[in-house]
Amino acid sequence: MHRLQQLYRRLEARGLTDEQRRLIEFELALVERSGDPQQAHRLGPAPQVRSLYSYADPDLFGQGLPSPVLSMVAAQSLDHLLERDLQREKDGFPRKIRIGKLVKPGRDGDDKVVVIPTTVEEKLIHDRLREDEEGEGGEGQEAGEGGVGEGEEGEVIGEQPVREEQGGGSGSGQGQGGAHELESTVYDLGRVLTEQFALPNLRDKGKKRSLTRFAYDLTDKNRGFGQILDKKATLKRVLQTNIALGRVQAGTRIDAGSLMVSPKDRVYRILSREKDYESQAVVFFVRDYSGSMAGKPTELVVNQHVLIYAWLSYQYQNQVETRFILHDTEAREVDTFQAYYQMQVAGGTQVASAYRLVNRIVTEEELARDYSIYIFHGTDGDDWDTYGEESLPELEKMLVYASRIGITVAENGIEGARRSEVEKYLTKSGLLESKKELLRLDVMPKDSTEARVIEGIKRLIS
């Protein structure tokens, strides 16, 4: 907190616009209320009020029957379902299967993501009338719930931090297994994404290096058994055998019918492992987890990064190296996607801190020599460094080595339809035009759908 105040004073000394000051004060106030940002980043998920119809016998009587939701998953193979979906398109109906993730939040950091095909059956049903949306301020008064017990009218009986309402979808669909489970399911998701949405491939830029990846091809020959009979080679061997046996004499006419064929004479082509060559890449995922990211922006960014991560894992057969960086006013690196995925928001915003950390990692580990480097940065576009005085130089450094930098601005809607700082200073710097091949920006409105998120990925990597 003290550090943040100091930073604020320093910035103020340099001069701030009114709008800028308000923005910083807003985030500072958020920090003040939630205490130490380091702690606040770790807040758990919110409790959920159950629907009237979600109460059911087996559940309540502790019969311990598993949820039928689990059983719905993948009773048929994913491929079969997707094939069916493709056929729909040919028949002139829109596709219906989407790729969904179920996230089960866990208190001590064991959130798990399970990838599943999902669909929705459209029907005419009543919608809830949303007069006040979360995050848009206002006296959010909803229809209400039932309650029981003590308390005068008007008395507050419970509280829940606003920030908590974020993160992935709720629900079950939870299997056992450690963090590696995420890997296998994102791999699946990526495969689907690559096929389903025809994502364009990343351009290879790094050095060609042999990775132990194999392709299988009918290149080797084998005697006795195999997949395809090599007729010419077989005939040669038959002749050799018969010459050796003295059944074929030079100068005489050969009677093909009387040749002896030993089983070993048959020569086949057989499937064999071939080494494949691939380029190497390292991908930095950078996420803003400052206070203003609460709710939808975080969800959008995280969702997009899950998808990119999934797709990369597939496209590069888990050979991509990934690094995860979170930043508020300071940046930190976390080890796993899990941690990256579920850290809660708090604190102020300084984009430059994250860029600086990326640059440091790249220089210290000399990544630029051997790897194509990709950087995906998700933010709501707020930056205390209004004119990008610190961010832009760092960004330019990154542009020297990076194969692609994709910046996603997910609008937080706090300030209406105003363009965000990051967007403004990026446009102003002209880098978006001059380095078009290397730098991409995608601005998503707050109410973006999954389809829009995928569209965003296309923009970032096309």
Binding site: M72, K123, H126, V148, I157
Partner: protein
Amino acid sequence: MELISQHAKGIMEGCKDRARQAGLRFADETLEYIVTNRDLLELGPKVMIPTLYDYWVQDVEVLREQGRYELYPNNPYETVINTRPPISYYNDNNPDWLNVMIFYHVIGHIDFFQNNLFFRHTWEYDFTGRALADKRLFAKLRSEKGRWVDYVIEFARTLDNLVGYFDLLAAGEGTKPANPMSLLDYYFDVFLQRGPNPAVSRYSREIERYNQMIRDFPGDGETRFVKSVIEQYAELEALYARKLKEKETVGRTDPLRFLMAYSPFLHREENRWMLMILEVIRSTSLYFQPQIRTKILNEGWASYWHDTLFLGDDRIRGHEVDYAIVNAKVTSMPRVGLNPYALGMRLFQYLEEQADRGRTGLAYFQTTDRAARQRFDRATGQGRDYIFHIRQSHCDTMFVNSFIDQDFIDQHRLFVVGKRLNKERMTWQYYVKSRKAADYRQMVADSLYHPPRVEVSVAENGALVLDHLFEGKPLVRDFIGGVLLGLEFLWGGEVHLLTSVPIPIKAGRGDDDQGREETPKRTIEWKRFRYTMKNRTLSRTLAE
């Protein structure tokens, strides 16, 4: 899936005897199965009906964020299904005392299924048998028509929440072939009330004139009156004739039935097989309709009986504490939230007590003195009979609206919880919003299942028109396209949907400078829109 052991079956039969003695009525035969996780793998997607038809959506997780229970009026997770005989599911390691408790609960459900009038149309057949026949029909059609069967199933299912359930109930009543509306009724009920602002004075003047004629001419007063109005309004008879004709259409609020009766596309020779699918989807949906409309009653009834019967059962001995724990889990009111088991059971207990003291009649309700009301006790002992009557003739909406009163709210200290944003602390605060019975009733009523009401007709150009009755709620907009697409396919031509959409009006932009936390309070205005699906493209225009 295997039957429970003979030992457990013995317990079940014992429970049935005691339940019968207490007054519950149900058929002799029941089936109890032990299910393993593996069985549930197949049962879950088929909403616990083992013989339900196959459909690809059962293999896919269904998105549940939006209106899960509005979309699927059937709980996918029932322990008892309403078949003949009723089937219930258990896991195999319950101790005996818990089985006794669950059996009583299950018997409560069975009694409810077999006596509540909203289930009347399910009494005459065994749904598992029918479902099996349907499943075979689909399998056969699939072998002939391939994937198109699944498309038709899909499109039919987009409408399966709008089946004319109440028409079906009304038809079962035996009151259906009621005499067609007489000219006199038409004159008063329709003709006089046409136009946007029918004058009440004119209506009452006519009533008075009618009464006068009846008094003046006891023999033929009515005929004279009718004659006089026909003379007065030349167009009346023509309009009346048209009205009578109009009545003949079926399925005006039941799109699937309407399609089956009138769709030119479905009646083409090569498409007739689709009618069978529509019928299966519709009847399956009708079968599930009463379940979701009686959630509070049904669970309340079952909970009431497991509590009543098990407490009076000698097999509880030594397990009182165990029972208390399980029972508390099932029937306790959450501090925030609405547990249908708890609410239903408390209402039944409350009503039994009220009726025992004779507090259900006019005499009680006309007692306005608070003290006298509290003392009111006729000691009629009619409580049981009264709740049996409610179990037979009510659904959730009626139950909630008729019986949640202030005494009940006070007795159980219920309240409506509000949620508001506290900007100072940046938290959502839950607070006691109201302890008034009317508010609580409204809150419960709002959370009940309520599909939209849609009236179907055909426009002059042959397009199908769905008219969504405005009830202060919009439709889920994302779904409209998908529904109309299917409907266009089944109708074989253009389809329209009329519905109201809330348009937000941004109020005064003047106070913009108050900072980011102040957004102007949003108000909305309702506008009627026409969605048109033509050649698989959706468009929206302002109607009126």
